[in-house]
């Protein structure tokens, strides 16, 4: 009872990876139990900004009890801007790990796509590190040549890149990369903007591929109590008793056929 808590994580390091994209390692107990695809709620130190910022776990170092988050600063005077100014030794309140993460076991013996787009790329890294499967094909889409995390992906599978401006890899999005390269897979794990996920869902369902999608929504509690962050579910959900699932608690990862996006 009452075994979880909001904790003051300590910033271990922070660096900028690309325009507006920051990477931060934090010292936290959450690292002990974290799994790929889970997220943490990060809180600001600004008394005007009280809601959590949900940020996916990008890497887990269970031994050193550290988590890595990679995030985009969405604008001036935002919480993420505040995060980007933290330096080693600063503290940041967090709750986590939250949500269910990607079902790794489903990949066993299969050929997989690990797909990430934009700021949905980071959670794919820890997934790539932990997944045990026949063939790891990492398909990641960026805006431009600032292909953050690419080197690390290359250590963990075969990497295919798409960029919106064509400055690296396939010009277009991750689906374009798959088509261009004629890639095939038995199972997909994906995180990214909704239009990308919609396209992947359609592709997977047309081709009868099992597909897991990590969704996003505005949150308040982050733990399943407030019903802020729902997505529509195909079947009536057993918890809500309506066609809604909580992204923070029942997700953020869902089987593509479970949800309407």
């Amino acid at each position: 009872m009452a075994e979880k808590k909001r904790e003051m994580a300590v910033v271990a390091s922070q660096e900028q990876l690309a325009d507006g994209i920051f990477s931060m390692w934090i010292q936290t107990e959450a690292a002990k139990t974290a799994k790929p695809g889970q997220f943490i709620s990060m809180y600001t130190n600004d008394a005007a900004k009280l809601l959590p910022r949900p940020i996916s776990i990008c890497e887990i170092d269970a031994v050193e009890e550290r988590l890595r988050v990679v995030y985009r600063v969405t604008g001036e005077h935002t919480g993420t801007e505040e995060f980007s100014k933290l330096v080693e030794g600063d503290t940041i309140p967090i709750i986590g790990p939250l949500g269910n993460g990607f079902p790794l076991e489903k990949a066993e013996g299969k050929s997989v796509f690990l797909m990430g787009g934009g700021i949905g790329v980071p959670p794919i890294l820890e997934l790539a590190k932990q997944i045990r499967c026949e063939k790891t094909q990492i398909v990641v889409g960026y805006r431009d040549e600032q292909t953050f995390l690419k080197e690390q992906f290359e250590e963990n599978g075969k990497v295919y890149i798409s960029t919106e401006d064509g400055s690296a890899g396939t010009k277009g999005n991750v689906m374009d990369a798959i088509r261009e390269q004629g890639l095939k897979a038995d199972i997909i794990y994906a995180c990214g903007p909704t239009p990308m996920l919609r396209a992947i869902k359609a592709f997977a369902e047309e081709n009868g591929i099992t597909c897991y999608l990590s969704l996003e929504e505005r949150m308040a509690c982050g733990i399943g109590a407030c019903l802020a962050c729902v997505c529509q579910s195909k079947e009536k959900d057993h918890h809500s008793n309506v066609h809604n699932k909580r992204i923070c608690k029942d997700g953020p990862v869902f089987l593509s056929t479970e949800v309407e996006i």
């Binding site: 009452a2 979880k4 005007a48 009280l50 308040a220 407030c226 008793n241 309506v242």
Partner: protein
Amino acid sequence: MDMKVNIAGVEWNNPVTVASGTFGSGAEFAEYVDLNRLGAVTTKGVANIPWTGNPTPRVAEVYGGMMNAVGLQNPGIDLFCERDIPFLRQYDTKIIVNVCGKSVEDYCEVVERLAGEDVDLLEINISCPNVKEGGIAFGQQPKAAEEITRAVKKYAKQPIIMKLSPNVTSIAEMAKAVEAGGADAVSLINTLTGMKIDIDRKSFVLANKTGGVSGPAIHPIAVRMVYEAANAVSVPIIGMGGIADASDAIEMILAGASAVSVGTANFFNPAVTMKIVDGIEAYMNKHHFETVKEMTGFVK
């Protein structure tokens, strides 16, 4: 020194509960909070049938608080009785069931259904849109509020707390109306209606356009309303609105509340209620208050 409070005949171990809709039915928060240390758990509003709620985005951050338009999504009274009441009954805490509806009949149906259930108090959320009256909330017209109180009282076996909306000209008048209708207690405030616009996208931040503002930003308004209501009626008041620490809770009690609810602050720190219970106790010790009752309405 005694933290116990008696609200409409029901004795709570301490004066702290959680605000409806911010705590589910307690299951998720039980991982962060010892529910036995809450005076009561107030559940998310429940209707006669399941409600889907509003489209997303349902929440937005505002300066010093938040805005929500969850739209009273709920699993309906049947699943609630089957699942949520037995869960909460495992704990040494009182159960307050928050009830919503779109017509007087809806409310009465839920209240009647709960009459046979093992729950302690019912809180009637009259900020719901009254579909028959063109969507204006029951809680914005004294007459409608009095009538709905009288109607649910006919079916109620548990004491009835009427939960008031702050979006009114006179909270005292609303409190008097529900007291006249037979309310056993009054709780306030629900959220203040607000709006947020994303100036870059040139659109409303919430899918519902408007939402209810809650959190520290509304606290002084809530304290004033609790004070006014407490001076208008003799039934006990459960005070809420922006309570984020013990000092906010104590202010509410000194203004006239017999108990307090903590809502939005649970989202910044899921264990905040524990600190609030401890803080009230420390304050009572320091200021030599023997009972919460002595503190209630102490500042006049």
